[in-house]
Subunit: 308 residues, 2 copies
């Protein structure tokens, strides 16, 4: 939407502090001397980021998990979160899901605010973490010769979303409802990564973002990308684009082996005229979740960085 691009451009003009990283990353990185903080804030809106009638416990889980995923992509250890919550009929379920998620990820609730709203509800969450490695990985450090790795499969969230939307029985929908931020993997990878981000918007678009920010071409091989065993073959192309998977996409120097389970899916080339190649050529059509033309409901973990 034109208004969004305009607004983000206006915000970018205000974000001159180095900690803002020019709004070109998923997080703010605040150097306090002894400690480097990594901070992120994401919102979710009823009917936009969650399905009508969806269990509020899952909404709470996802609000926390998607923010923690941004910390994971920077190798940050979460210190705590603040919640901005709009009250509704399902408050107890939301609280139960938040409790579960805070326990699962070992993160304390530090504070926040509740409001009543006469209309559509929205919730926000701020996650604060401590960088475990400095410099904190960015999107812009990928170098020609690096290998491209991903920490897990893509496509399971897409399958879960479709099953939940259509009421399909017998499908595991947890990847969509209860994503897992890759915190341990991010901490292990941060000292080695030349660039890193989470693939919330889709593997191809997020790989293209690393390519563009780094001034290189990420050349991916589709056959090397891990997919869920249950994914029908005709959905493989969509799985590379759908997103909401919250795995980490990382580039490592060629002689560095990942310190955690990961899949090699491509190489970094010198700028070959496009930030992304797929199977030897720039891919055609939409690469993933496009903030200018969102395809209906999504749970994407978009930030100001991706609104241009």
């Amino acid at each position: 939407m034109a208004g969004e691009a305009t607004f983000v451009a206006l915000m970018r003009a205000l974000a001159c502090d180095p900690a803002a990283r020019g709004l070109n990353d998923d997080v703010a990185v605040l150097d306090l001397g002894d400690t480097t903080l990594v901070i992120t804030h994401d919102m979710m809106v009823e009917g936009v980021h969650w399905l009508p009638g969806q269990d509020a416990a899952d909404i709470a889980w996802k609000l926390l998990a998607t923010n923690l995923s941004d910390l994971a992509a920077k190798g940050a250890q979460p210190l705590g979160v603040l919640l901005g919550y709009t009250l509704g009929a399902d408050d107890a379920r939301f609280a139960a899901g938040l409790h579960e998620a805070l326990d699962a990820f070992g993160v304390p609730l530090l504070g926040g605010d509740t409001v009543a709203s006469p209309g559509v509800r929205s919730h926000g969450l701020t996650a604060i973490g401590r960088a475990t490695h400095v410099p904190v990985p960015s999107r812009s450090g990928a170098r020609p010769g690096d290998r491209v790795w991903i920490t897990g499969p893509v496509g399971a969230a897409m399958q879960g979303f479709a099953a939940l939307r259509d009421g399909t029985p017998g499908v595991d929908t947890r990847a969509f409802r209860r994503p897992q931020p890759r915190l341990a993997q991010g901490i292990a990878l941060a000292p080695l990564a030349s660039a890193m981000m989470d693939i919330s918007d889709g593997l191809l678009i997020d790989a293209a973002r690393i390519g563009a920010a780094s001034g290189v071409t990420l050349a991916l091989e589709s056959a090397a990308v891990p997919l869920p065993a249950t994914l029908p073959a005709d959905q493989a192309a969509a799985a590379l684009r759908w997103g909401d998977d919250y795995e980490l996409l990382v580039t490592l120097p060629a002689d560095v082996a990942p310190p955690c389970p990961a899949f090699a899916i491509g190489m970094v080339l010198a700028d070959a005229g496009a930030p992304l190649w797929l199977d030897g050529a720039p891919p055609t059509g939409p690469l993933g979740y496009d903030h200018d033309h969102p395809p209906g409901l999504t749970g994407r973990n978009e930030t100001l960085a991706d609104r241009e």
Copy 2:
């Protein structure tokens, strides 16, 4: 509202970390060793926290100022803010007001998120500051014999709100539209204060909160409370209750003079059976902004701490 009290009780059970201060303060206080962070998050909702048709530049200013006021009450120096913004037709005005306010208070924008919403808009802001004095002042340190001080008058926001709502010409509405967080005063007072908070919800209710948290009685003299020169005499009682003034309310030992302009408005007594006395007796009727029975539109800077 019953749902809110229940939800806040559920949140309190999750907020076991000492940094959360049991959700009994306006901020989280996170000890990082060399640095102590003070963090707050407040939301504002269309039609609840701002008047329909109000200039979005004023909404942006107030969203920032009310969050910074929470930092001021802890003597914290702001390090930066993250914005959660719902897009609308007045984005450019919002951006302009945010720019003005960030410049005025010398605070950088660090990041955030924008969303589109099909309905009522809400915005959130997270402010992060560095404590300039440890221990960080709380609500609970007032001691019998302390004096009670306020950094400025109450009632101007009430006058501004009424004029704005009614379209009254010739009235200065800035106190309502463009509140000033008392950052310098908070930093000067923090090393001396036995208790401190901002009086967002009304002088009487906030004084009662310090009394209750400290297990003492704050005995205020209404004649000593500074009021705007333009305030009609029959609105003086309302001015003590209306709130939205964002002055600091602070208790100091009797032998300590405030290091900044301030008005002595009462004494701290040993617990006299009520957390607040006004002119020698517990006041009757509503003390201020009551979260259980909000009186229509308000701009109050309420937090989880005040929802019981």
